[in-house]
Symmetry: D2
Subunit: 301 residues, 4 copies
């Protein structure tokens, strides 16, 4: 048996985000962006920890950059740097950028239904210090997981579904969420969100769903995958848009299955993939590693 004396598992996150800030720059590619961003950061003696950059076409395509820098010896406060970036990037380059102090965790609401595998996995990881977020609340259309959620010290709100008219439930959701969360995670939440809700809530929404090769859209996907004899079961995490399950993909993974697996087995193996894929998508989003562009994402993972 293992007796290696490692540091405890509740170790610091990949990017020790205390005293660090991230800068996302995004826009039409052109010569000189890198030097311009670099000169602003250099002027304030920002010590760059990591820098990732991607251009889908250097001749006028889309440009994406993520810079993480330390705040320790910084010669200016973040708002001051923000002003400098605005002056330097906003006018000449017409770039969008966002600057964020990574030591301030994103506030997150998790939506769930009856299935608890994705929900509990996120709460566990959060308690272990794996996710740099604050779980502000869990909202569910079923009361089943209330006890478990509250055992983590996290508020649980039961907002029942009431048939096809979602307006009352969504009004309750908005009352709970507005001003309180920076993004939402649908952890196997089995209700459709209306376009109106998505627009009104105004924060990114991450969803997880099963996925197959080939896809089985609609009811009973696992049963149909079994009929077709698929050899892989997968999951896809994506941003929610009005187009059902068609939003930008953040992360995907699969697991092997065989003819000997029942439909219930496929669903269970699928659940294992779902929780892993969703947790990676939440981690990357909360570390500002994901940039949306058209209907896809740039992930600097």
């Amino acid at each position: 048996m293992t007796i290696t004396q490692e540091a405890p598992l509740q170790a610091p996150s990949r990017t020790p985000t205390h005293n660090q800030a991230s800068l996302i720059v995004h826009g039409r590619d052109r010569t000189g962006i890198v030097a311009a961003v670099g000169s602003v950061l250099s002027k304030h003696e920002a010590n760059i920890v990591s820098l990732d950059q991607y251009s889908d076409n250097p001749h006028g395509g889309a440009f994406f950059q993520r810079t993480v820098f330390g705040l320790d010896n910084l010669k200016a406060a973040l708002p001051h740097i923000d002003d400098d970036l605005k002056a330097r990037l906003g006018t000449g380059f017409e770039l969008e950028f966002r600057l964020r102090d990574l030591s301030i965790p994103h506030r997150v609401a998790i939506f769930a239904s009856k299935a608890d595998h994705c929900l509990l996995d996120l709460l566990w990881r959060h308690r272990r210090g794996e996710l740099p977020i604050t779980v502000a609340m869990v909202i569910s259309n079923h009361p089943d997981t209330a006890g478990e959620v509250r055992a983590f010290g996290i508020p649980f709100f039961h907002v029942p579904s009431a048939g096809p008219d979602k307006s009352a439930a969504e009004a309750q959701h908005l009352a709970l969420l507005k001003g309180n969360v920076d993004f939402i995670v649908l952890a196997r939440y089995m209700q459709i969100l209306s376009g109106g809700f998505i627009a009104e809530v105004g924060v990114p929404i991450i969803n997880i769903h099963h996925s197959f090769l080939p896809a089985f859209i609609g009811a009973g996907p696992y049963a149909r995958a079994k009929e077709r004899g698929v050899k892989l079961v997968g999951a896809t995490a994506h941003y929610v848009t009005e187009d059902l399950d068609e939003g930008p993909i953040i992360e995907q993974d699969v697991v092997r299955v065989s003819h000997a697996h029942t439909v219930a087995d496929l669903r269970r193996r699928g659940a294992d993939v779902e929780r892993d894929v969703l947790s990676r998508a939440v981690l990357w989003h909360s570390e500002d590693r994901v940039i949306r562009h058209e209907n896809h994402t740039i992930v600097f993972a």
Copy 2:
């Protein structure tokens, strides 16, 4: 660098198929099948090398069994055992079975177009002794790979496509194939086979195609996968049926990609998966490891 003295890579196949036979039994599940099959084989002192069995429902579901046994000390010739099995399984149990001397390789025709990755990989594996088949011929609608195929000592036939009417080309195909092959492999063959051809040729046909999560059916799948930002690129090997790309799946696999991959990269990574998946499907089929049932397969790999 490595200096381990291993046996050469051209080592014998997983099932040393010389002096072995396989027996596939398939039908409605009921009590006593195992004992009945076992008693026939035992009577002739067949030494069972491996036995795999699966039932999708023990109460009258479908039953599948693959037995491999040695021919060395067998007390009867295979046709004699075949008769015994017919007497024992055919009447009381209404089972189908097929008995095959594994030392007689399947004869295979490979269909290809311009892309050579799947074709060459099969020919090279065959030469290494990895595939217990005889490659009877390669048929292509393009002349491009003729030289390479013939360098392997394998006949190459160029049968050009001539627009939407495939009847002339398919007549040529049938003339080449009839009586000469036990199964057909479409190694990125970019032409549709007609239902009439599939019925007339009368042997199993294995195809390989790309696959994605979610699926992108129709033209330009890699370009559309890129637009959606997929994180996995896959391939599916399946038996060809009249329903385009909807036949029983034999094998699938995927490889990770990222936003930094171009459409050409996706296609190339996809090609790597395609050749691996297709070679496994061909191996398993040629070792009688795959049983078709309704629209799926049982794979005793």
Copy 3:
């Protein structure tokens, strides 16, 4: 977002083990074993649900067989069948076999230390109905996880380690375990078990440990893996023998990492693999899918 109406995730296990029994047969291979076993089961009208068999050499090698059959219409009680098998297999064939009613779950003790990822994952899967076991107790050399374990309704015993002399602690372990458990799981238990304890407790012990390509044995494996720049982090579940970490492997898996991952990241990704690999090993062992032979395993998964 997803709205597919699947059956709940707390679905029945892969082998609906109620009213089923498993028969493991194991010994020197020879002609006629399959027929002999089949005839005993057939005599009692056992409906065979699945049958897996493997021989590492049909000419006198080792033979392994796992049969699952239904108890519904059985014409005899299990002890009666056991007697018949003893008469038929024990004398002529010198085979070992074990017959087990799968509806009686194995009783399991889980040993843990401070890290909770494997422990909680097992308890949660058990509550979901994924593992056909009874968790009889959790034993830990640290009190940290007591509250969480007891929240699952499972007894928690704190047996502190007391330096190099383990005899007092192991005596306490034995007092708790003897007669109460069918196997033990070391869920990241960071203490060495003595050879005396392993012999005395007399039940299989499953351990999980990290693993790398190449291996980094001894202290600080993750730090050393980082220094060498490994691209994969893995985990191995194995049976515990007196040879530290050298027992028969049950299951392994890996996850990709990159130079951008810190030692803490490697450890965390490793933890994800550990819990998945351990849960599969526990599932397969509890379903009698694993047969130990010399220093390896046959896994009919």
Copy 4:
């Protein structure tokens, strides 16, 4: 079957390297590097296509940066930019850098023995346009693959091994290689290279070897892996150093195996992983994506 009309597979490489240059910067991390590099490139109106950067510790750790930029509208020749970088980075920052015109392919020698799987895979990929290299020669201690190599139009040199004294063979190798190649690939070359040779030849050497969890060092690794019942077989590509198989890892991967696989099967599945892993290592090295540092690598893949 598939009828999608994709562009041909012989598509351009991931980074269309014509008219592009790569700049690798490497040294002790400090504030201002990014701005300094950016300002030199910006001054000459270099259009940056991609930029990856990593620091293992922003407070005086090691800094790594890879920039790819277009040469189309460049306002200076590369040597001029090289001078500017030398002036800007060499003195104040004590950084090392290398600038390279990516349209000039690396010249590569491939060393092989009897096994052809890695060798042929590299030659295929090269012919398909997947690898931006020139294969200058193949050197083998066995004549077996001469015909196949020459069919690709590539020189083949047979330099037999002559027992433990490698000095004569290595002198031949050096005579062939000196001045003619930019790096060497050992494609399952089964001879040890002496430290003197490695130093004298003066170019990077990439090797591929099998790898397992746990590692089986020394003779007969596959046989010993089989005895231990491993469930994964892997391969590791690394730079060759004087420490046998202990050089910096470039890439690794694994494939699943089971108890039913023979030693020959493990070796064959291993061969599939080896060729894939080696080809990725060669691709990344030839695109200047790999930076060696101490005993590991930074791979901007």
